[in-house]
Point group: C2
Chain length 303, copies 2
């Protein structure tokens, strides 16, 4: 079984009929499953989770990008979330039986098609990046749609694929391979935002913490508590249980308890099994010991 | 998706060609998957794990029982594990989209067929038991094959199905519905078996512990340590994480660390997800948040 995931972001989060038409493009492919999608009105942005056989996922993503370029006009787009394209970003994630290197290759194939056939400039990011300054998506996106008409003239920001000018209505798009991302938030039994900020600093990479953790303190005003809000960008190397235990210990330093956590979206079985085995101190335990995983393997073997 | 599991035990653990012929019977059914099987020479016994669509699983189990009766002659069977039948015991376990009550019904259908068509006396056990003294399999099996020729004459031990006399070569068989069983062992950093025994007593139902825990102390002579060896007979009601944390606390009382654990065989996703969510203090997390589970649902939906 060869499976990749993609979580394309589209710059439309208010008109549901538009989002549905974009998603509809994926349903033409029998080996692509739309596992989840959500719209955010404030951000004016939608996020779709696709999983499937790599070739069909690439075709579905191309068709969705084409449809988004037809239906979304960025000149009239307003929202809180920074954006530069109708299809803003397309990450490819190795899931089962596929490697990061393969996803890098596929991101280049997809980027080339979008650039050449749709006339939309494409930037390769994260693991697919062709220059260090393009690894970080927020660096690419700086200036957003409006600023890109100038930015693209800088030779440093020549697109990896497609024309050297911004698409008038669909902007520019980032495509790249990355690891699975887990959005993990830990709630603290205090309303003191300084403590959440200090703990976020302690665990995040940029200020000396775990290499694959991005974190910030957030106030949950309705609940009257604060939260350490995180993206775990490589759960295999900076695992969820280690980050969680470090946060508990740091919070205890301030006499603050951890009152709960939340995970946004879906999680790969491997991350759950690793956590299970770590807490129960089991040395030889893998996903092949999970009944449902074995069934999935049996079912996909037959195809 | 409707799925049940069965883990039939056969009284042959030395001649692999015999065990393979029995397992072969299951492969005639496309919606039955043999997830695992193992032979034990000392016990002279084999254990097969089947998962599948209920009707086909029942047919497969009948055919396997028939084949075992043809190939195994209990008059010549010696092994460390107590046994009373060529097919010794057939548990039916509700897995996905099926209930305990359905499994009880199915165990009766299967028992009736084995009794009437194969002439093998059948005892319903566990949740299918027709009398309290038949709930516990070891009560039924007392006296074993050799003793059953007398035992069966006692009206108290009249079989639920089949003739009132032991099958000359295939003995008698127990069939019943039960919850999924997790074999879970916790290793202690000591060679003092008394401590393992005391902790086993503290957590097991029979001596006042958790309702769905069977436990005993075991010496691991090669490793020079002791172990609390358990069967968790209902992981939903006496969950693995609670039992594990209690053992850690009890061990600490003796100044002994837990040095590791092991799980024998397979585990349902629900048990792993429950443990994950408990340790990470997540309130609303279910198996539907696991990518592989969603894929499995998508794939089986189409059939």
């Amino acid at each position: 079984m060869k499976l990749i995931e993609s979580v394309p972001n589209f710059s439309e989060g208010r008109r549901e009929e538009i989002v549905r038409q974009i998603i509809e493009e994926a349903s033409k492919y029998p080996k692509v499953k739309v596992l989840d999608w959500s719209m955010d009105k404030d951000h004016n942005r939608s996020v779709v989770t696709l999983v499937g056989e790599p070739e069909q996922v690439l075709n579905a993503l191309f068709d969705m990008t084409k449809k988004a370029a037809e239906l979304i006009d960025l000149r009239y787009h307003k929202g809180e979330h920074p954006r530069m394209g109708a299809t803003d970003v397309i990450p490819l994630v190795p899931l089962i039986g596929t490697t990061m290197q393969e996803c890098v290759e596929w991101s280049k194939q997809l980027g080339k098609r979008i650039g050449e056939e749709l006339g939309i400039p494409v930037y390769l990011y994260e693991r697919s990046a062709t220059r260090p300054e393009r690894e970080n998506l927020s660096e690419i996106r700086k200036g957003e749609f409006e600023g890109f008409f100038e930015k693209i003239k800088d030779p440093k920001w020549k697109p990896d694929f497609g024309p050297d000018r911004v698409h008038e209505t669909a902007g520019v798009t980032a495509v790249g391979a990355r690891e699975f991302l887990i959005a993990f938030n830990v709630n603290l039994g205090t309303n003191n935002i300084e403590i959440a900020d200090k703990i976020a600093k302690a665990v995040r990479h940029i200020s000396g913490g775990y290499r694959y953790v991005k974190a910030m303190g957030v106030e949950l005003k309705e609940k009257g508590i604060v939260q350490v809000s995180m993206n775990l960008t490589n759960y295999k190397k900076s695992p969820i249980f280690r980050v969680f235990e470090t946060i508990k210990r740091e919070a205890a330093r301030y006499g603050v308890p951890v009152v709960g956590s939340e995970i946004i979206g879906m999680v790969p079985l491997q991350a759950i099994v690793d956590t299970f085995a770590w807490y129960l101190q089991i040395d030889d335990f893998g996903t092949n010991r999970v009944i449902e995983e074995r069934l999935l393997n049996e079912l996909t073997k037959e195809e």
